[in-house]
Point group: D2
């Protein structure tokens, strides 16, 4: 292509966090430019945001419906090439649906929806339309997460036996002054932390090992009086192939920032990755010293997936935005290959797709059911 | 006292690990000397061990029965003052029982027994005889564990909400060439890892927070073919006072050494302690920077319990043997106070006692029952 | 301004590292767009690069002279607003000079020049023209570096006594197959590592503490046979105000990545920052526990300079590109304020300027002289 | 031997730190017992200390002269086998001299003396008498220090090029209320920190690499008004064989505990060891991931010297006392071999001897001279 891909955004108004991340990530690819947006349910705020982004005011829309419909009438060389959805969770479904119906590929923040059925419906629609659909499970965008996946799948650790995922934050430890949509069940989903951070935990476990959950037993809690969503929980997990595990989730872990840690143990070795120290991968062995695998474009012994995901030489720290960028890079590659028919190889440019989003929602609904009914539930039952 | 306390030892023959630790720890107190032992079920090996320890051969016995009976006939100024038990688990009970019956205080390795009922019986006997009885939950002997307990109990973290304990080792990840008693259910107990490391996990959680387990749901596994004891498991835990938690246990976590980590979160802050980095205590806050509390006789802001447990100035690493020594120091203080009627203050010289041993076995039996019956079990039911 | 600032770039052709960083950083500000470039001494490669960047081929130039001269003839609303220089070191001077002479503000990579006199000349020119000039000492762009500076300057540590800077890399530990300009004295400068990483070390010490070097004694070495530039050295430093220090530099420290560590000690406390773990700042106290200050837009107890430099909430790692972006953000603010006369406040948006570049070159020349003459040299002598 | 070795101690009265460490370390060997002492220049305090140690009051002496002379008249099977010297520095020399003259082997704390000439004299005397003499450079007693030495000497890192030692403490950062002998030049030596921690730094560099100092350039400072000893300094070092290095020393580094770090770089890799995290050894490579070598009796890939120095299995932290114990273990082995003519192998039981002590004092005097005369000094000149 002799131009950048054109992105339209829904959500991401002034002061929001995740919209800004999506914009920076898309931007950092060097292949995508933001051309239009419906940034807020308030048309005025949407215009304000557009101005801050130096957008043409005519392409700053009052609603996502208006944006999708109007853009779809523009000539192909002008209209947006895909939609990026960064709204509160409950809007992911209707926006994505409308976008797909009008033929636009989609990047959606996670969780994909607030209901499993909605997720399945989107998947069917995306498949019917043959449209790429990314769900931004950002942690799989880190080079060391990609390296971990490759090393586990190529058998370094021997037969996998045990998975431990812990994702703890302190953000909900104390009453919030400001009203936030995440705490409203109708906007963020009743699942609360299970959807917000639990889906990341499920995804990273599956991403690292290729293993789906066979059945789970969840003990979910609402720790604060008057709160309406789950903010804490532990989930016993039996993965496929007899692999045992546990997922610990909390947003009331006072003092914790964004502490996601995954440990995978096989018969020969174990591998640990900590999101807060993302540029290192720790590999422990039964019979040899521990190794610290480090990211970097010039790092020794890395797989191509990791090398491609690294922006900088070793010792130059990379972070969350760069990981996010890698999701957009993978999506952009598919867009060019599938929609614009470029003859390019996207194999080593991974991104989480709608099937990942669907499995995330299956996990959420299984956890809710298990916790309410005090029994083991298989996501496959749903 | 104008002499050292006299210790007799059962178990701890040539090549054993834990007996050597007990001897070094007792030794390091500067208040205890080993005077006799029945170090092995083989009288010859027992004598060999005695020789290595420069003991009088007459006080190296062929069996624990002989030792306890013979020593009890010696005059008080000569006979052993207490018995230290470092045998395989299944012998803790009969040796301790015989020792108590002959009026000897006891230090026993953990788990206290292999059956909960045996533990309760020992407790009744020790109480009836008013004899001090220590169970060597060594991790509570670290200065930073003592500091953690004091800080949590004095309310630093606010109301406690959440406990996460993870104790993972890799020692059983691969088939063992050498036969070891821990893998024989009749010698080490069917509970396996649950008794071996699980009791440490239960104790450290209770030690830090003062909270007992209200009910638990255990998912225990035997990961290796032909193995007869549990070597892996996760346990959902509801502590007293509505505190939620999880205990993750594994001895098949390839590459892990002796990785015990406890995290306790309250409404205001969280506290993390890692046994493998025992001289630091991490305290995280909702509204202030993280603190690294460090051990040391001269460390600022430490509680007296921690200062007394520290042997060295800051920056001079202390370890497992020193922690073990602190258990013996506490026990020695009680011995001098209770048995020898010295007028001394032992308040800040903590040690885990037989009640701790009993609660450990209640935890083990509840976990076994829960896992077998797939239901929540309260240790109080037993 | 109702448009983005327009950047022209000199250097940064295909395969280069630092040009790509400058482009990404400028881009990430959201306020700057690349509009033209002379990316290579080969006009063809320059065009290739321009195509990859989706630039108008007419604004991809065959030489920096052509670019600067042509752009200066364009109307103000169209021509580039400033020049970014990312060439090998020896070209910084002529390119910057020509740019300044044509009225263009400049961002230059470091070291500012390869001769101290060149640096001084550029400074006089920039001042005479009243043109903003940034030198990309990137490490001062990290939020925690900004926090460190503020804390030290506001007196947290008490009177400063001691500074230790260590900057070690392994990149030159072994013979290089590929010819690189850094190893050619005429292109990178004879100072080699002293210019390349030493200027960073000098700058970060001065940035943290506000202290200039009073005198220094350097022991510089060329470790590899046939090499023509210094690749290793230690420098004793007497800073202003009787503050003592040492700077350790090496590019032959096998296995090290980009390990810059600075420790500053005052009468009350010490502060340590490690570039490879940039999101934490360690503060140690004589009489209180160590603190770990963490970056984040929502981090407690941070100064406004640090909060403004943070892109993300706590626990979402930031890295080198984000630090680089902060340099460009500060420069962009000055450009808008000084050149475009916007009424904005840039006080908390720091960037290293030409005076920093000059002091860096004074340090380099003093170190070379000291090492050759085996005596203490004051950069003020020069 | 069918008995423990008998130790007499000079110094180590009530409240002292290092005497207690020596006693615990000797004790922990399981091969040494304290039988007599002159613990204080006050005969009464000496007796008090003896009582706390449960010693026979007849063997608690009023002075070291009395102790050495009296003990030398006792029959060999009863008298002390060696003397341990834990006095202030200035007494090391006269006590050691008298002990050697009476035929007693010696363990002395470091620095060996306060004058280089005294050290040489002691060495000649010890050699003439063929008496073992240990100097307790404790850090060489850590298993990972021994492993480091072996790996470097066997060539793992390739040809050694670069050594960086940093030893920083904060203990003298603020005025002391209590009078301490270390700050009195006549008792601790004018060298102050250079003797106290500098000798450790010199020794550990030599221990790791086998390299002596060819010449050095020292910049020593007295940072506090009214202080009479050096408390801070940096030393440029040219080791043998063209190996370059720097030693950074400070006891005014506020907030630092006992932070000794050594980094050694060769053509292939680098090795870093930190005394405050002594159970890990970090090995970095030009072309492979970093390794964390961990201590433990059962640790994979360790040299026999390290395995023998480890007391516990992996994951059971060891510390300063255990390292100290290893010095005594090595000395005890030589005592049995040389004095008691046992047929045993001490090859893998290292200990620092009087030659190490002499080289330490040569380093101290060269540093003093260099700093005063502002020139490079070779310890060989002295």
């Amino acid at each position: 292509m002799n131009r950048k891909l054109r992105m339209g955004m829904v959500g991401g108004g002034p002061g929001g966090f995740i919209g800004e991340i999506h914009r920076k990530a898309a931007n950092l690819t060097g292949e995508i430019e933001l051309v239009c947006g419906a940034f807020s349910s308030s048309p005025q705020k949407s215009q304000e945001m557009g101005k801050l982004l130096f957008l043409d005011p005519k392409r700053v829309y009052a609603s996502y419906e208006e944006m999708i419909k109007t853009e779809s009438t523009l000539p192909r060389g002008e209209r947006m090439d895909f939609v990026s959805i960064v709204t509160p969770n409950y809007l992911h479904y209707p926006v994505a649906k409308l976008a797909l119906e009008h033929g636009f590929p989609v990047v959606s923040d996670k969780p994909l929806t607030i209901k499993y059925n909605e997720a399945k419906e989107l998947k069917e629609l995306a498949e019917a339309k043959a449209l790429p659909f990314a769900v931004t499970y950002v942690y799989s965008g880190y080079p060391m997460a990609r390296e971990a996946r490759k090393r586990i799948l190529r058998g370094d650790l021997g037969k996998i036996k045990r998975i431990i995922v812990s994702y703890v934050q302190g953000g909900l430890a104390r009453p919030r002054k400001r009203k936030i949509w995440r705490l409203e069940p109708e906007k963020g989903g009743i699942a609360g932390s299970i959807g917000d951070i639990g889906t990341h935990a499920e995804h990273i476990a599956r991403y690292f090992t290729g293993l789906k959950i066979g059945e789970l037993y969840a003990d979910l809690r609402i720790s604060a009086k008057g709160r309406k969503i789950y903010d804490d929980g532990d989930i016993l997990v039996h993965f496929e192939n007899g692999v045992m595990g546990v997922i610990t989730l909390s947003q009331i872990a006072s003092g914790e920032e964004n502490n996601l840690t995954i440990s995978v143990y096989g018969e020969k070795g174990g591998l640990i990755w900590k999101q807060q120290e993302p540029n290192s991968l720790i590999v422990k062995w039964n019979n040899a010293p521990t190794q610290i695998i480090r990211t970097g474009r010039n790092a020794p012994e890395l797989e191509r997936e990791a090398l491609k995901a690294a922006f900088l030489p070793m010792g130059h720290p990379e972070g969350f935005i760069e990981a996010f960028t890698n999701i957009y890079r993978g999506f952009a590659c598919r867009l060019k290959k599938i929609i614009f028919k470029e003859n390019i190889d996207c194999n080593e440019l991974d991104y989480p797709d709608i099937q990942d989003g669907v499995l995330g929602m299956a996990f959420v609904e299984a956890a809710l059911k298990s916790s309410e009914e005090h029994r083991w539930v298989s996501p496959g039952e749903l």
